[in-house]
């Protein structure tokens, strides 16, 4: 199996900060894998992700993209091979949905017909019928629909890997679940490599082949969900898993209480 992305002793500290945002990260991500990056706010998830498409540069260490050091690649060229989706979506408000999705294919000089076909295909993939949505503008879409377009736009030029930074973080629980399902089905279809940042442990475990748990810029554990639950690598991971379990128990307890309340009312 090929390695899609490799981090070698990667470290990043922002100017004037007294600590590393990402501290000595070394790991390999296999081609076709969904890796979720899980950790509390400020632990360095975004920083780690943005170093892959060179929106940030590491202070030391090296990142390889299919074996090639990205430092030697032209950043603009590199980014065209990588899909990028962020929580705020960032659709271009002055372009309709079709034009938004066509942005990178247009830059790459695809023929017009191929672009048209690709846009329709992608809209179908993210369950937005082209006839209805292609000519709409971003402000005429719900948050969930906007993020579907964000996903389609990132997939447009058939990138080798996808970077997703809390893409469903601002979306209600029910829509989020259906978006997660769609993401999984897209992944099953194309077997692309996904790096998916989230602070939601349920989301992280639900989507991942492997979960990368970060704390204070350091990797705490990088393993399959089942292994993390059965063999937490350290106290931090154990606490994280326990707190998620407790949350689930509270839910059940709450459900029972509610049943009693409704029983006594009837």
């Amino acid at each position: 199996m090929r390695t899609a992305v490799e981090f070698r002793s990667v470290r990043k500290r922002f100017p004037k900060a007294s600590y590393d945002a990402v501290s000595d990260v070394s790991l390999k991500i296999n081609e076709g894998e969904i890796v979720t990056i899980l950790g509390t706010s400020g632990c360095g998830k975004t920083t780690l992700l943005k170093m892959v498409n060179r929106l940030y540069e590491p202070d030391s260490g090296e990142i390889l993209f299919f074996g090639q050091p990205i430092r030697q690649m032209n950043p603009v060229e590199l980014r065209r091979k990588i899909g990028y989706v962020i929580q705020q979506v960032g659709l271009f408000p002055h372009m309709n949905i079709g034009e938004n999705i066509a942005t990178v294919p247009k830059i790459l000089g695809w023929p017009k017909q191929k672009i048209e076909k690709r846009v329709d295909e992608l809209l179908e993939l993210v369950q937005l019928p082209a006839a209805e949505f292609k000519k709409r503008y971003p402000h005429q879409l719900s948050g969930g629909q906007q993020q579907r377009v964000g996903l389609a736009r990132a997939l447009a030029a058939d990138p080798a890997i996808m970077l997703l930074d809390e893409p469903f973080g601002a979306i209600d629980a029910i829509t989020r679940r259906s978006l997660q399902d769609e993401l999984l089905s897209i992944h099953r279809k194309f077997r692309k490599t996904f790096l998916f940042v989230t602070h939601d442990i349920h989301e992280a475990f639900r989507l991942a082949d492997r979960v990368l748990i970060l704390d204070a810029g350091k990797v705490q554990q990088f393993a399959a969900p089942a292994e993390i639950c059965s063999k937490p690598a350290c106290g931090f991971v154990e606490k994280l898993v326990d707190s998620a379990r407790e949350e689930q128990l509270e839910w059940k307890a709450g459900g029972a209480e509610n049943d009693q309340v409704s029983a006594s009312l009837s």
Binding site: G90, F92, P138, H139
Partner: protein
Amino acid sequence: MIKFLLRYPEKVVVPLLQHIELTGLTLLISIVIASALSLLLMRSRWLSQLVVGLFSAVYAIPSMALFALLIPLFGLGEKTAVIVLVIYNQFILVRNILGGFHSVDPAVIESAYGMGMSGAQIFFKIRLPLASPVILAGIKIAAVSTIGIATIGATINSGGLGTLLFEGLQTMNMVKILWGTLLSSLLAIAANLLLAALEKKARKAVNGEG
């Protein structure tokens, strides 16, 4: 009034054309300089604040005072008037150009970089169109204020509709005063309407309604 116009058409038409030329030239130079300045300042927030602050102080100087200050340097005439007007416009234009670019949602810019657009592509396809309503609003205000202040330029022989006004005042010729007032007001209103329409169109395009 109509009789005056029919008898001495050149006394009305020539100042009007001069006025249009004077404001057109002023706006052109102002926009070029303000664009260059804004591009230089874009990278530094504190430097832009400093420069816009300085321009706002200059903007507060009464126009007569600024003319008086610059006549020893540039003499009487159109050149000095254009210089003064260009200086005034810098405050309005630089403030609005920078404000326009800062008003663009950073998430939009981040996703544009993230998908592999070059700096030039982002500037021309994203930043500039999205900043254009605020920039056009600045040009609108600058045009109206230039048309107004340019009438005062007549005191230093820059020509234009101000000439009608001041000649009219000196000789107590009501007809000249009225023509000067009427035409400069109409010119300002026309410029305002035209640029407001452009601004509205740009705003609709930005919001995906155009």
